[in-house]
C-alpha cells in the first residue's frame, strides 16, 4: 500500500497551480482548511478561482493577499462578524485588483458540484427562478421543462482542479472519517481533479475501515494527506475543536484597512511560516479551543459471522 502522506508545503507546491479552481470551504462553517489558505498565500499562488457555497474569512483573506481572480459562490463575508472588507474592496474599488463574481445560491452551487462529481451535463432546478442570480450569472440558462412545459434554470457542472477538505481523521492510504454537518464535502471531493485532505489526526487504516459508512470521499479520490492538527483554526471541527470567535472578530477589525490587513497577514501567515509555526504562535490559546467533552457515538457492528 503506497502512502499519500506529505507536507502541506509540498502538497500546495505540487498540486495547486496558478489559475486553478480551488475549493476551500466545502464544510461551510466548520472544517474550513485555513492552513491550506495560509500556505497558498505564502507560496504566492495567483489567479485562483475560489469555489464554495459559503466562504467565511478564508476567501476574504485570499482576496486581500492577491491570490484570487474570481469568486464562484453564494456568500462571502465573515459569518459571525459581518461583511468581508477585502471582498468589498476588490469588488467596489478593484483593490488589490478587480475580481470577477459568478453568483449562485447555496443549493445551486451544490448542484453544480454534484453535476461535476457525477458527470451530469447540467442539473435543472427551480429554486432560483425569479432571482436576479439568473441575470448576473450568465452560465445559468433559462429553459423549459420538456415534461411540464414550465420554466426551469439549468446549472452547468463545476469540476474544480483542487479541493482541500479538513477531516477529523485520515489514514495514510487516503481513506478518512469526517462528521458533523457535511456541507458540500462529498460533492467537492468527488468532483475535484485533486483532493488534498487536512487531517486533524492520522490513524491506522483499520480505524477508518472499522466504519466505512463514515467515509465521505473514498481514498482513491485523494491525492495527498497532510497531518495538520487544528489546521481548520479558527473554524470549528465537530467533536475536536471549538470555534475561535475572537479570531474572526479581530480579523474583521484588522482587515478594515489594507495596511492593518497586511500587518495581520505578516503576523498570522508569513511569520509563522508553516502550520507548525502557526500552532506555536497560537500557543495556549489552542488548548482552550480543544474539545474535552466525550459524547461518543453508539457503535455500529459490522461483524459478519
Amino acid at each position: 500500500m503506497s502512502t499519500k502522506l506529505t507536507t502541506l508545503a509540498e502538497a500546495v507546491r505540487t498540486l495547486v497551480r496558478d489559475g486553478d479552481q480551488v475549493v476551500l470551504g466545502a464544510g461551510l462553517e466548520q472544517a474550513i482548511p485555513f492552513a491550506a489558505a495560509h500556505e497558498i498565500i505564502r507560496q504566492g499562488k495567483r489567479n485562483l478561482t475560489s469555489v464554495a457555497p459559503i466562504s467565511d474569512m478564508v476567501g476574504d483573506m485570499l482576496i486581500g493577499a492577491g491570490c484570487i481572480a474570481k469568486v464562484v459562490g453564494a456568500w462571502m463575508g465573515n459569518v459571525s462578524a459581518g461583511l468581508g472588507h477585502n471582498y468589498r474592496r476588490a469588488v467596489e474599488q478593484g483593490l488589490p485588483h478587480p475580481i470577477a463574481i459568478e453568483d449562485y445560491s447555496n443549493f445551486t452551487l451544490a448542484l453544480a458540484l454534484w453535476a461535476g462529481a457525477y458527470g451530469a451535463p447540467y442539473v435543472p432546478v427551480r429554486t432560483i427562478l425569479g432571482s436576479d442570480i439568473m441575470a448576473s450569472n450568465p452560465k445559468i440558462l433559462k429553459a423549459e421543462d420538456p415534461y411540464t412545459k414550465t420554466p426551469i434554470a439549468l446549472i452547468p457542472p463545476l469540476r474544480p482542479d483542487v479541493a482541500f477538505l479538513s477531516v477529523q481523521r485520515a489514514a495514510a492510504n487516503g481513506d478518512s472519517h469526517v462528521w458533523g454537518n457535511l456541507g458540500v464535502m462529498q460533492e467537492a471531493g468527488m468532483a475535484a481533479e485533486r483532493v488534498i485532505l487536512l487531517a486533524d489526526q492520522i490513524v491506522a487504516s483499520e480505524v477508518i475501515a472499522s466504519d466505512p459508512n463514515r467515509v465521505i470521499v473514498p481514498g482513491f479520490r485523494v491525492a495527498a494527506v497532510v497531518h495538520t492538527p487544528c489546521g481548520q483554526h479558527p473554524s470549528p471541527l465537530a467533536g475536536h475543536w471549538k470555534r475561535d470567535g475572537d479570531f474572526f472578530t479581530d480579523y474583521h477589525r484588522l482587515s478594515r484597512e489594507p495596511e492593518s490587513f497586511q500587518a495581520w497577514l505578516k503576523e498570522w501567515v508569513f511569520e509563522p511560516g508553516s502550520p507548525e509555526g502557526y500552532l506555536a504562535k497560537l500557543g495556549r490559546r489552542v488548548e482552550a479551543l480543544r474539545i474535552r467533552e466525550q459524547a461518543l457515538s453508539v457503535p455500529a457492528n459490522y461483524g459478519a459471522s
Binding site: 457555497p53 468581508g84 436576479d132 474572526f248
Partner: protein
Amino acid sequence: MSQAPYSTQELMIIATAREIANREVVFIGMRLPITAFGVATLTRAPDAIGLFEVGLARRQPALGTLQTMSDPLNQLGAAWASGLLQVMGTLPGGRVDAGFIGGAEIDRFGNVNSSYIGDWRKPKVKLPGSGGAADIAGMAKRMVVIMNHEKHRFVERVSYITSPGGLAGGDSRSRAGLPWGGVGAVITDRAILRPFGPERELHLASYHPGHSIADVCDHTGWNLKLLPDCAPTPEPTAAEIEALHRVDRDGFWR
C-alpha cells in the same frame, strides 16, 4: 410608553415563533430565528423540526449561544447530520413549510436583496450574497423575513432580487416558474407586514407596542397600506416569555 418586561428583539423572537405551527419543518438561519424555533418547540410546536443549510436538522435548538450553524454545540444532539444537498433538497422537494431569512433591502412585494447595492455590474456596496436565502425564498411554502425597519431598507424596488418574494406582484411569481411559496410575514423591530389583495403587496398587519401606525409608515419607503384588521401586535404571553427565558439562558436578547 410603559416599561415593557421584554426587549424589542424578544418581541420579534416571540412573533417569529408564532409563525411556526406544530409538526412544521422550518429552515432556520442564525441568531434570532434559532431562538424563535426554541420558543416554538416549548410552546405551540413541540414536534417542529429545524433545518440548517450547512446540513443539519434539530428537534430542539442547541444548548447555548451559537456563533455559526456549524458550531460543535449545534452538531451535538442533532437529529440529522448530512450534506447541504440533502437538507436543502427538501425545499424543492416540497417538504419545507417555512423559511426564515434576513436581508439588506426589501421592497413592497417582499423581494429581498442581500447581494448588491446599486447596479450589480458596478455595485456601490458588495453584500455577502444569497447563501441559501434565494433557495429558501424560492421553495419554502412560505418565507418569513426578519429585518430592522428603516426607510432606506424598505424600498419601492430593490436594486437586485436575491430572494424572490412576490416579484412584480400578482401572479408574476408563479409565471416565473415558482410553483408555491412567497412571503408569509415580514417581522421588523416596529411591525409585522403581510401580503394582501390580488397584487400581494405588503400591508401593515400589526404594529408593536410602543409604535404607532404613523411611525411605521414613516419608516417605510413606499406608501404602506393597512390590512383591514390591522391592530397592535399582541403582547407576549407569560408562557412565551418563560419559554424565551429558558431558551435564551445567557440573556443574549434581553
